[in-house]
Symmetry: C2
Subunit: 288 residues, 2 copies
């Protein structure tokens, strides 16, 4: 990656916008974007996030790109690559921001022309808002940047993704397989969102604001959710997510059975286990 | 309540200690405490949280008290009142800090001698630590103070509880019935803790520190839990908590069935519902 590389951001929403902003601030002078919404392009140009952009007749921008960031939902990404992928020139390296990988990455790699590399990555950062106008609120500095290569990727491709993660200022950069990624995301991200949504959908939940403590507030913060994006991510990864829902439900049902049996010792043992696990988690996080 | 009232704190742990500290700071000069642990008494006396205290031969402290705060677990509270309640003098008003009310409040009121009033209350504040040495970490200023009178209580008793909540600096003081209290607590506090524990008890959960985002961290913060206290609170309120677990599980299973059926519209509708509920909750909280 060097400062003269021509970047093209495909999809100028919250993440696409924060990538454009981050790359420009990191000293990359050739950052372009395409989006269907002229307001998004205008906003990013006015703010200096991009050198220029387009909503149509963007073939030339695509042909000239050295580095492409697909900041689209998975289904839209597949559609875009099928329609415009052939325009990309050999030597171009592409990545994405998708929260799911298995299935998607293989399809995109198989669709792109010979000589165009797609190295998948996932910035674990976001906000409970959307749109390029909120891009400045996304903070990469405490976040993980995950890279998920397949056997089709080259060391140069992986190195590009690493440099991108570093240029954007992520705290940690990790490499793992698409399958590992999706299993982990099913647990730490999707299951937690499924729980928050299920908790907040209780009849009359909003009434409890006057009584609640911190724990309820923390658990349900993420129940404000972009329904289009999350429905897509959930469905894309549904086998992993269903497994995690089943595992979680079994543990919650075990807890319920201890309550029904009045089994104080079993309850206390479960609480000790969760306390140990959370303490180990805190320790591990601190060591990073 | 006036500045010459003689207070007795029964049980000098995290909450008993923070009440002693708060009352002394609010200008009440006659704050005494009893506890089985001499270290706790010594610490509180050294820090100036209490005027004096005792671990045994405390009958005189009990007889002379105008106001008593029971900062004990529910079972210990019942036991203490059965053993020493008769020592309290007529005119004395007592309260507690218990996180459960139904069953407990009636028993305590029935056990205390004629002329001694027990007005139950629940400070919705705490910390993931215990002991009087951490009392300074408890912050009442953003928290709710709940008062749960029964038909045995007098307007004077309720007014004492209100003044206590104000003296300790709670943000909001609310009055509700014991049954309403326990149902609400089953949902906003106990269910959320049951969820956090069940989430954190996943095999290998602590390994995920290196991949996690904010949502997982927020949801599992409260999985570090005082097992003795929470086992007691859960069992005391188990009917309400089991109802809440059942309701929550049904909503999570509905979400799972939408995944299995690939029903994107139903998923999106559930996400819109949770988003609306959380937005209403945020708005309500802001208005307070």
């Amino acid at each position: 990656m060097n400062k003269n590389d021509r970047f093209l951001i495909v999809g100028l929403g919250l993440l696409g916008g924060s990538y454009a902003r981050g790359l420009t601030r990191a000293g990359f002078g050739e950052v372009y974007a395409i989006d269907t919404n002229p307001e998004a392009i205008r906003f990013a140009r006015d703010k200096g996030y991009i050198a220029d952009g387009a909503t149509e007749n963007f073939e030339e921008l695509v042909r000239m790109a050295d580095r492409v960031i697909f900041a689209l939902y998975p289904t839209a990404l597949e559609g875009w690559v099928a329609r415009y992928g052939a325009l990309l020139r050999p030597g171009c390296i592409c990545t994405d921001v998708s929260g799911v990988k298995a299935g998607l990455v293989e399809t995109v790699q198989a669709t792109l022309p010979e000589g165009v590399e797609f190295i998948a990555s996932h910035p674990m950062a976001g906000k409970e808002v959307s749109g390029v106008e909120n891009a400045h609120l996304v903070d990469f500095s405490p976040a993980n940047f995950l890279i998920t290569p397949t056997e089709r990727n080259t060391p140069e491709g992986v190195e590009f993704a690493r440099q991108l993660g570093r240029a954007l200022g992520f705290a940690h950069i990790r490499v793992l397989s698409c399958a590992e990624h999706d299993r982990m995301i099913g647990y730490v991200s999707q299951l937690t969102h499924a729980i928050a949504v299920s908790l907040m959908c209780a009849p009359g939940a909003e009434r409890f604001a006057e009584y609640t403590g911190d724990s309820f507030r923390d658990l349900t913060r993420i129940a404000r959710i972009n329904e289009t994006m999350w429905a897509e991510l959930f469905l894309w990864n549904r086998e992993n997510l269903i497994d995690e829902i089943d595992g979680f439900t079994a543990r919650l049902q075990a807890l319920k059975s201890y309550l029904q049996q009045g089994d104080r010792a079993a309850l206390e043992e479960m609480f000790r286990q969760s306390t140990r696990a959370r303490a180990a988690f805190d320790k591990k996080e601190k060591e990073e």
